[in-house]
Symmetry: C2
Subunit: 350 residues, 2 copies
DNA sequence: CTGTTAGCGCCTTCAG
DNA sequence: CTGAAGGCGCTAACAG
């Protein structure tokens, strides 16, 4: 079956010129007579000619397209980072294709291969919570496709990345809880595989230590970020002989799910248990009581990652991160104090 | 510069066989001696051979990839539809690339051309609020690339689509407000360009009519879905001589923004103003008071759209919707009653 | 079972 | 300023 697409050959035939000339006219090459160029452009328009990017990318081995891989779409975090990425990349003339992994390692590997097999010029990544093997990422590097990580960064890979000050932010959040007089501060941590899980927990531990509060292992649980588990773990905390008087949660969905459990049990927030989340998801301000949380500059994270990728792409000589230190950008966060930790202040009116 | 990719030619040379044989071995063609096949597969693995999809798609004019175009990433609606789409398409062996338009018509046109120029096999679309010209969609159809719309469907295009019963859902929602004794029901509608705006408004109007409540044009405003505008319009409503005693909002973000205005003014929800939203966003259950809203089966919408696209793709003869009626699937919604309309029932405890 | 050949659409030398 | 020719990687006839 003959293709329905118009090609430069179709145009060349109609105009009785060579396809090279058509190609030159279409790409804006200077060496084309004005008259010819005009004729080509007009005919191309009426024939609805559209360049076949596959053919182009195929012959040039570059596609003017970058990929972004995110682990999930459940919170507002990743979608808003993506918006920032698109901002910068589209302004730079790049196309952006998005892959979403549903937190599945398998999807991540296959999407990575997909992007590579389509010859994207670069990839911005945040890996899944299941990812423990990073071969698919080093494969991209070996292929000369630059990678920029954000949020979830493999810790044994030397690769450009943009993160926030997870450690300090967690430290500050926990210090805030201590500041309102809490002593038994529980921590619902994320999976060990994520670097920000470990950083935030370290911030938690060090804040306790600084203020002379002994570390109680019973009050720290790592979990897999599935909402159902929060209920189990939170109930467990509340059923302890001496239950916690505060909770520092790895992220806002966790904090919000935990709050449901606390409220269902008839306990008051923040009087009985103060709660702090992480990321300032859209829902943090809506939940009752308003959730104290660490705001991340999501759009900026995306923009910064995009800019880092652009510098990689523009580098005449590919940066070889097996011999040189990869750049890291750390963006600031901001602790947003809301009712979930406001003990003496006035509580949100309704 | 020589490409870093391994190609079938590299493999063929090393094994002293022809590239056709390599190709056959790699694609699982039956006519290859077991011994040869094994040698090829092994060498391919050690050389990290990976098929170049550009070359493949280029020569076959089909890419085993579909696109999904969504207008925005602000609410949870579109991301969860996407998850449903990926579910079905990945199971069917297709790749899914996502394009997000930021509600910009221009982005929509350029993303459409992008997808077409990459020869995607089909596209699932919900158009932007700015879209009034649909040429880029008919272009796809002329190219033989099947389209399936959801949520926002162009009303003068005969094209497969999956929607919900917007009219009945709105009717029922408004009837619910009337049922709790409301007579002055305001409606914050969406942009005229969206078909569901018009359907939901018609449902609103007909519910009023059925119950003998005269239509008051002062209580209906269309707007562009930007949160800032909600504040203006809602203030306007509240400043009317006889302000409304209920609000039916085009979607949940609108309803939630409106609730902020109402609460800021010191009015009570639902006593002074009852509020109903649409879509049952994640935030609807979190906001205080809980928002009564119309739940949409988002993942199902995605799955259904994907299945419709698959039937289009599998059709031996392309369906020509200029001569035959395009299929429509209408999925059911469910009115979720929460505190924002519970006058007599018990109110959520905190 | 395997090799040869052609061709997908485009850009890019190289010759005029 | 323009045309002819080659090649990107792969599959699909067509011959053996």
């Amino acid at each position: 079956m003959k293709s329905k697409y118009t090609t430069i050959i179709d145009i060349a035939r109609q105009l009785n010129i060579s396809k090279s000339t058509v190609s030159r006219a279409l790409t804006g090459h200077p060496n084309v007579k004005e008259h010819t160029r005009k004729a080509v452009l007009e005919l191309a328009a009426t024939m609805e000619y559209q360049r076949n990017s596959l053919a182009l990318g195929f012959s040039k081995h570059t596609t003017n397209t970058i990929g972004i891989m995110v682990p999930e779409f459940m919170s507002t975090y990743f979608p808003s980072v993506i918006v920032g990425v698109q901002d910068v990349m589209q302004a730079a003339g790049y196309n952006v294709v998005i892959c979403q992994q549903n937190e599945s390692y398998e999807s991540e590997v296959s999407n990575m291969k997909l992007l590579l097999s389509y010859c994207v010029d670069g990839i911005i990544v945040s890996h899944t919570k299941e990812t423990r093997n990073f071969d698919h990422f080093t494969l991209a590097q070996r292929r000369g496709v630059p990678l920029v990580f954000f949020n979830r960064v493999p810790d044994d890979m030397n690769v450009p990345n943009v993160v926030v000050n997870d450690y300090e932010a967690a430290f500050q959040a926990v210090e805030h809880l201590i500041g309102i007089g809490r002593k038994r501060i529980a921590h619902l941590a994320g999976p060990e595989s994520l670097v920000n899980t470990r950083l935030r927990r370290q911030g938690y531990l060090d804040a306790l230590k600084k203020h002379g509060i002994p570390y109680n292992p019973d009050l720290v649980l790592s979990y897999d970020l599935t909402t159902e588990k929060v209920k189990i773990y939170m109930k467990h905390f509340l059923d302890l002989e001496t239950p916690p008087d505060a909770l520092f949660a790895i992220n806002d969905p966790t904090a919000i799910a935990a709050m449901e459990v606390v409220k269902a049990k008839g306990l008051r927030i923040p009087e009985d248990i103060a709660v702090v989340g992480f990321s300032n998801d859209f829902s943090a301000q809506l939940v009752y009581p308003g959730l104290t949380t660490v705001a991340q500059p999501t759009a900026d994270i995306g923009r910064t990652a995009a800019e880092m990728l652009l510098t990689e792409l523009k580098a005449k000589v590919k940066n070889d991160y097996s011999i040189k230190k990869a750049p890291t950008v750390q963006l600031p966060t901001k602790l947003i104090i809301r009712e979930s930790t406001m003990v003496k202040g006035k509580v949100k009116k309704h």
